[in-house]
Symmetry: C2
Subunit: 488 residues, 2 copies
Amino acid sequence: MQLLEELITIDHQADTPIYLQITNAFIHNIRLGRLRKGLKLPGSREVADLLRINRMTMVAAYDELQAQGWIEMAPRRGTFIKKDLPILSPKRIDAVQHAFTIPGKPLFPLDERKIIPVSASEFPEAGKIIFNDGFPDSRLAPVEELIRSMRSFAKLSVHKKYLMYGGAQGTGLLRETLAEFLSDTRGLPITPGNILITRGAQMGIYLAASIVLDPGDPIIVGEPGYSGANLTFIQLGARIHSVPVDEDGINIDAVEKLCRSKKIRMVYVIPHHHNPTTVTLTPERRIRLLELSVKYKFAIIEDDYDYDFHYSSKPMMPMASLDRHGTVIYIGTLTKTLAPAIRIGFMVAPESFIRQATSLRKALDTQGDSLIENAIAGLYKDGVITRHIKKSVRLYKERRDHLCRLLQEELGRHVSFRTPEGGMSVWTQFPHTDMVKLSRAAYGKGLIIRDGTEYDTPTRKYNSVRLGFASLNFKEQEQAVDIIKRLV
Amino acid sequence: MQLLEELITIDHQADTPIYLQITNAFIHNIRLGRLRKGLKLPGSREVADLLRINRMTMVAAYDELQAQGWIEMAPRRGTFIKKDLPILSPKRIDAVQHAFTIPGKPLFPLDERKIIPVSASEFPEAGKIIFNDGFPDSRLAPVEELIRSMRSFAKLSVHKKYLMYGGAQGTGLLRETLAEFLSDTRGLPITPGNILITRGAQMGIYLAASIVLDPGDPIIVGEPGYSGANLTFIQLGARIHSVPVDEDGINIDAVEKLCRSKKIRMVYVIPHHHNPTTVTLTPERRIRLLELSVKYKFAIIEDDYDYDFHYSSKPMMPMASLDRHGTVIYIGTLTKTLAPAIRIGFMVAPESFIRQATSLRKALDTQGDSLIENAIAGLYKDGVITRHIKKSVRLYKERRDHLCRLLQEELGRHVSFRTPEGGMSVWTQFPHTDMVKLSRAAYGKGLIIRDGTEYDTPTRKYNSVRLGFASLNFKEQEQAVDIIKRLV
């Protein structure tokens, strides 16, 4: 049995006992199918000779293999690799009888189809048009420039040697660059110490809420609201209190009323292009919310994910720029600026809070991608990102206008919407349509559109969806609206 | 005052009222310093003429600015930009009087210098030698190949259009590739559905522990142990119970004793090259631990972060490959294979658990980096990663031997250590040395070395550090040991 000699190599210098080296080699080769189930094995003496080891060592190895259930020794018949080894089936991990289920908590109720754009990692959507929730057109993303920038940083020997270690707060270069950019565009007078680089806005929301909230703590959100954030708060055990959202944003009277009756610790607000309704929080309400945060001592998460995409006029300065008491945790992202898969976002807050958030970030995700972070900083410095934003804003404004025109002209009385001042989607009500049916039927026709049920509450049905216009060119928009037209 | 006309543009088509557009433009320009503090402003009639708007609109804008505290109107003297605006100082966010501190939890006690290699994002360590905790030599990482692979994926139009959305579980391509690789190298007979792509091992530990543990739940870890994991468990509110680690790994009798008295829900174990001691858990103990997990119904986190780096013989199959009851959550990482800043790791578990973990991952970090994930899959397919591992193992074995020889010959009786079978560091005791002093003095001489105090407990002082050999070439090792020699 020449085979065994080839399959089993012994290292006499190793610390692992030889019988265990042999045991492991057998198991390895059985698993790989090189030693098939049911194979009759040579006796221990024969193997010992082949491998040039002491026979007792081989006896110990066979004993170990038998004890572990890999082989069986039948008196007089010989030694066999077991026939009923369940472990060669590729589905073994799931197919086995579970002694018990890992005692996990109830499944976090995030329905993928509702929360993130339909996953397309296996490309099941290739050829279909997607009305997503409001994402940029990743076909325009300056990926080539990003890769070039990565390459130029990767070549620096100092980068190779040191920067690979990175830091949990984000590279100094990117934080410096962002401090300047945020100061210029949003009036945030900050230093790099006020910034934590995150992976998109979601991580910022998770970190901020984890730090501030204990299980059972109340948090105020708008209704309808952003389910990605709400589900995070639920996941952290917070109790969610909703206040109505009207065309001026969240109702601040309702916030104050809640503050009087409960120890509110946090308010989550999207001041620009509120998700889902796209309304903007008025300056009056912003200032009142800031005042309340000081009076009732709660922290504000200001999720300004879409700030750079404003079409009608300049966006308002963030609340963080007016915050004189350090109660605002400002969260932004580049995933809207570049592409969803380029996972760079940021949190801006007082240094002490940033230190806490950095420390928690280490626990859940040691550090950032220093090479990509610096490559992005390079794109800022070269003006690539500013140019990309300018170009995108011009294009998305046209796409917004085109979609609104189509909705008006083609769907008319079937829809109700307001042209959004910014952002990447139109909050569209379908007053007379069963959206679940529409969504299903549309899929068959080549259009992916949500059914909007994630916004519904036990007492209110919105019958509305966000129609993302930024990632669809005119022709795609026309095809999409045409499919809807034939179905309503 | 020509200036104002240039600084303030009005969009008559916008939804934002004109007086607010003006208000915002004023604030913007004050912040940027274009309108300096104390500046006397023209009267409302004059500005209204300049901007060609109704005078009452301008009055409303000035009222708003006054209400928000940006300007003051002195009777008879005129209108001025306030002199005492605190917001122009770049340190404002921290410098203001805080009405209260954001009600965060106590700072998560991760001391950066102890947990991750000294942060070098600002390169303060340039020119210094670092005895890190056991990291690969990022100078060898196939970064050029990775970038090339990214570029080739980025060029695919289907990737541009769809893949940018990515998925929270990781791209199908990488999960398929890893399922094959893990089956070949570790005997894990799994499908892509059993894999969640994480960002390094740390995220895997955080997700697994979050899902299984509620605050107050007991978890068993080895002592000494990996502080990065322990602090995560503390952060999640778990109660940590330690069992001793000897040269065969964690003491299983002690595990069983704890199981008899407490409802243990999870055991965290590093079966290869235990951190910090580098010992390997023996097969007997592995099998006993698996049996106990079924008997006492606890989940095992098997953190096999260093599996591919074994020098003396083949590493043992992971416990996950023997797990017939679905109690093992297997965690691995490519950060050791490539470089710490390339943040790709993986979790292997039954599909139902992977679904839960994926769902939680969405809450804290929407999705992975699909472009990098697929680029890495490309490196596996092209054999780049396997070749890189082979090359690194050969080199690191030499570096391990070189360091051990140096420690023996140069430091002799000052140190006590065992040559590790694998991994990237030597667990070295300095029985007669004050390590805190040594660490400080070494820094002055150009060597960064930890003081090992993170392993100490109230009852035991280890006086030991992990000396990472993989990232230092012979000459750097010699310089490092020479510095220590002069200090002990």
